[in-house]
Amino acid sequence: MRIKKARNQIIPAIIFLLPGFALLVVFFLGPLLYSFRISFFDWNFVHPERSVFVGFNNYITQLKSQIFQRAVLNTAVYTVITVTVKMVLGFAIAVILNQSLRGRTFFRVAYYLPVITSWVIVSLLFTYMFSGMGGLVNYFLKDVLHAISKNIMWLADDILALVPVVLVDIWKGVGWATVIFLAGLQGIPTELLEAAQVDGANRWQRLMRIMLPMMRGTLVFLLVVLVLGGLNAYVPFQLITRGAPQDMTHSILTLMYRATFSRMDFGNGAAISYLLTIFVFVLSLVQLKLLRKPAGE
C-alpha cells in the first residue's frame, strides 16, 4: 500500500515540477555553466565556433587591470558603508518604532515608501539633486549652511561621484532593514525584557545582553542579504556615475556590462562575473562562520 502510494506520486510530481525546472535549466543552470565556458575564451559572439580558447587569460587581464581593481575598491567601499549605515539606522528606528507610540503605523509606512520606489527613478532623482549647477544639494550646502563657498561638481570627481551613489542606497534601503528588524524584535518575548527590567538592567544592558543576542538570526539574514545586494550594485552606478570620469567609478557589474555590451568582449565580461561570484561565495562562507553561535553559548 505504501509503496503503491509512493509510486503513484511520481507522475504528479513530474507534472508539478516540469514547468519550473524547464525554466531553471534553460534560463538559469544552462547559462550558469555556459558563462563559465565563455570566460575561458576570446569569445566571438557572431561566430561562437571561431572563439579561441585562452585559458585563464581573461581572468589575469582583469586582475591586472587598474580599472577592474578600482571597480572592486568602489564596490567594496560602497558595500561596507551602505551595509553598516543601513543596519545601524534600521536597528535604531526599529527599536523606536517597537514602542507603543502614537502614529507608529504612519511612520512605518512613510519609511517604507523609498523601498517601493524603483531604482531607476531614485537614481535619476539623486543625479538631479546632485547636479553641479542648480542642484538642490549644492544649494543647501552653499546658500543655506554656508559650508562650501562654490558649487561642487559631484559627478566630475572620481571620489565625490560615489557620494550620491552611496546616499541613494541608504535612503532607499533603511526602511527595509527597519521592517526586518521590527519582525525580529517582535519575536523577543516581552516577559524577558520586563524580567530584566525588574532585575535592574538598564536600557543599554537590555539591548546588549538580551535584544541583540536574541536577534542573531535576523542579524545574519540582514547582513548576508545586504552584503550580497551591495556587491551586486548595478543600477545606481550605471545611471548616476556611468563610470565617468575615466572609468574610475564603475561597480564590478557596470564594468562587466561595459566589457560585454559596449566592447562585445564576452569572454572578459564572463570572467568578471565569475570573479565576483567566487568572491561572493568566499565572503558568504566567512560571514556565516563569523556569525555562527560561539561554542558553549
Binding site: P31, Y111, Y112, P114, L124, Y128, M129, A183, F266, A270
Partner: protein, 277 residues
Amino acid sequence: MKKSRLTMRILSYFILLLGLGVVAVPIWYMVSTAFKPQTMVFELPPQIWPNPSTLDNFVKALTTDRFGLYFWNSLKVTLATTTLTVLVSSMLAYAFARLKFPGKEILFYILLLGMMVPPVMLIIPQFIVAHKLDLYNNLWGLVLVYVTMNISMQTFLLRGVFEDVPRDLEEAAMIDGGSPFTIFTKIVLPLSGPGLAVVVINSFLYSWEEYTWANVNIGDSINRTLPIGIALFQSEHLTEWGQVFAASLIALIPVVLVFILFQRYFVQGISTTGIKG
C-alpha cells in the same frame, strides 16, 4: 522614572520626524519638479510648490514621448510574469511540501542555488540563449527570465505556507479519491490566500521596476518597458527633468496602488522571508 520616560518619548519623536524629513525631501522635490515648466527646473531657491505650475510634462510624457506605450508594455510584462510566477512556483512548492519522489532533496538544493547566484552574472549567457530562442527584443524574453529569476525565492516562501495547511483536510480528500491535482486546486491553494498575495506583490514589484535585463534584451523602442524608457529619455534629454519625473510619477501609480491594497501583506511577506532566513 516618569520624567526619563517623557524625555525618551520626545527624543523618539524627534528622531522619527527628522527621518521623515530625510525621506520626504527627495520625494517632494521629484513631485514638484514634475509640475515645473522647463525654465524653472534649475531655479533656486526651490519653491515649495512651483508657481506657475503646469501639467505640460504629463501631457508630453504620455503623448509625444510614448510613455503611454512603455506603460502598456510594462503592464503586459508584469501581468504575465506575476501570473506565471504564481502558477509555476505554487506547483513547485506543492511538490516539495507534499509529494514523495526520488531526488527530492537534490532538486530542492538546485532550486535554492537560484537564490544564491547573483542575477547579473547570468546576463551574458541569458542574452545568448535569448538570441538562440528568438526571444531577443521580445517581451516574452523578459517574462520568461523574470519568472526564472523569481521562482527560487517564491517557491521557498510558498513551501513554508503550504506545509502549514492542515493535513487532515488533505487526507480526508485523499480517502474520498481526490488526486493530488484536486487537493492542490481545491484545498491547498484556496487556504493559502495571504501567502499567494505575498508572491503576487513580490513578482509584481520586481518585474515592474526591473531595468538591467530589460536594458540588455530590448533593442527596438516599441518594445521598451517603463524603466528603460525613463532612463533613456533622461540620457537623451539631459536637462528635461520635469518630463523625467512626470513619467516617473506615472510609473509609480501602480506601485502605490499595490502598496495601499496589500499593505498588511507587505509586512507579513517581509517577516516571513526575514524569519525564514
